[in-house]
Symmetry: C2
Subunit: 315 residues, 2 copies
């Protein structure tokens, strides 16, 4: 198959876009599309200071790479969660992020959860949940806490994550199977910041299929961690992705249409304004100062306080 733009052989054929491209034109197309999404959804501009959360995986490194080449002021943030039992997952993924930053001469901040809170995520999960559930909940809360805090404390305008279409669609699918109103109303490629202390959050890759971000990373020769987080095995979203891939195979473009028609229906007023999440009275957490609706301390502080007290009672 030939590239649509030149005479070379295509390296990728995107059935859903009816588009086949060679390496050079694919990178050009991918970069152009990213810029188009940023503008179409009014995510940020060249005057903004951007912070991209990098995991060392393909999506976040690709995002950092594209934005850097598009001329944006974008620094990276790596959160070391201490997931090193058996596999050296966190260590290896941090190295990938560091190598990339170094090669491109970009600034990478690193937060070490063990240093900050005295326990790695798997240990914290065991201490609070006694191994009953996966550590994904405590991990998510911790990542969101640091992304918001570092973003605001260091004066960034926008926090970016590398979520792709497959990620977003799997979450939307799960929220729809249970009709979780709150989550449905909040799901968006752009979450506005708030004066109470929430940074603006955007997902510039939300319209790219996973295969497309993977192809970009590969063609640009970016080295990234290929393993999934060991705790993600058996996660619902992974199963939903399989089901959605099946549907996509039968009808190319289904995933994109599912997400875009959701955003369209939302923009056209399908959902009731009264149903919008009542965030409740936000006030600063008495410990960390970040906004919370809880009486005294935010979820993050209460959770980690529980980890520390359980740990000390065991000593």
């Amino acid at each position: 198959m030939k590239c649509r733009k030149c005479t070379r052989s295509a390296v990728i054929n995107m059935r859903q876009h009816k588009l086949a491209l060679c390496s050079e034109h694919y990178i050009e197309w991918f970069t152009f599309q990213t810029q188009r999404f940023i503008q179409e959804y009014q995510m940020f501009d060249l005057n903004n200071r951007l912070l991209v959360a990098v995991s060392g995986g393909k999506d976040s490194l690709a995002l950092w790479d594209v934005l850097h080449h598009l001329g944006y002021q974008v620094d990276g943030l790596y959160i070391n969660l201490g997931i090193n039992h058996k596999t050296s997952y966190s260590l290896l993924s941090m190295q990938k992020a560091q190598t990339f930053a170094h090669a491109q001469n970009l600034d990478l901040s690193i937060v070490d959860v063990v240093k900050e809170e005295g326990a790695a995520i798997p240990e914290a999960a065991n201490l609070t949940l006694r191994g009953r559930t996966k550590p994904c909940s405590i991990c998510g809360i911790t990542k969101r806490y640091f992304m918001n805090r570092i973003g605001l404390d260091h004066g960034y305008d926008v926090l970016l994550t590398g979520h792709n279409l497959d990620d977003e669609v799997a979450v939307l699918f799960g929220n729809t199977l249970n009709w979780q109103s709150g989550y449905l109303l909040r799901q968006s490629p752009v979450l506005e910041g708030s004066a109470e202390g929430f940074i603006r959050k955007v997902k510039p890759f939300f319209r790219f299929y996973e295969r497309e971000t993977a192809a970009y990373t590969f063609l640009r020769g970016i080295d990234y961690i290929q393993d999934e987080c060991p705790h993600a095995i058996g996660a619902k979203t992974i199963y939903y992705k399989e089901v959605l891939n099946q549907l996509e195979t039968k009808r190319p473009g289904l995933k994109l249409n599912f997400y875009l028609s959701f955003l369209k229906a939302k923009a056209e007023g399908l959902f009731s304004p009264e149903a919008h999440i009542k965030i409740g009275d936000l006030h600063p957490c008495e410990n960390c100062g970040q906004p919370t609706t809880a009486p005294q301390f935010c979820t993050y502080c209460r959770m980690w306080e529980q980890v520390r007290s359980t740990k000390s009672s065991l000593v």
Copy 2:
């Protein structure tokens, strides 16, 4: 496995309800549940005159059977669509409906589309659509037209259809994958009638899995047409049913939860009242007198007029 209620062997195990029952107790349970749904969703009562649309398939015959045994005044309506090419689908399904009605001494009205409009559904579809699409659209419009007209003309209070949970969930799934606001807002086990000339429509079996209605029909020894409509082969809803069955196998109860959480979110005001379908100005069709928003003639009359004029131009 033993029946939950007695010492006999169970004939059915419903994982999603964690319930296994013998034949006798299954029929009792199924009948009791039907009555419970009728009351819980305020569908109708013993004073109402009911008309059930019977296709000759398991669901509609089971529904007619249960309602008759529960003491409701319920007549049947069979619409002969003339789908007899190669298979004798319409003819055979009509015979099943007639045999059932006769054995139970129940009243069955029959509408013959060929007699009424001069062409069978497959022929009408070929004439209007030139074979480009399936005849399901013209078939659906025709069935809805006669169900409404016969229901109102003969003074029935409520029109009933045998749609089961699998049917409803497949439709909901399709409407959700495309976020079709109008269809999402209208999907309900109870559609109120209106003064403009729409009969009240209800689906008492919407909470039963397909397997449950099939088991009831089998255990009651009701003879029904087992084939799918030959035009349904390859239909999207059949594919959605397969996908949903896969999800259900992984998580028993998923289908029921998907549908009930949808109804709950809707009842709690997830959808905007302004988004509710503006039915527009309804007025009587100048030909048939049924309500329509179209300027002169309703969709049904325009469609069949097109069939007749195409047919006469070919003669």
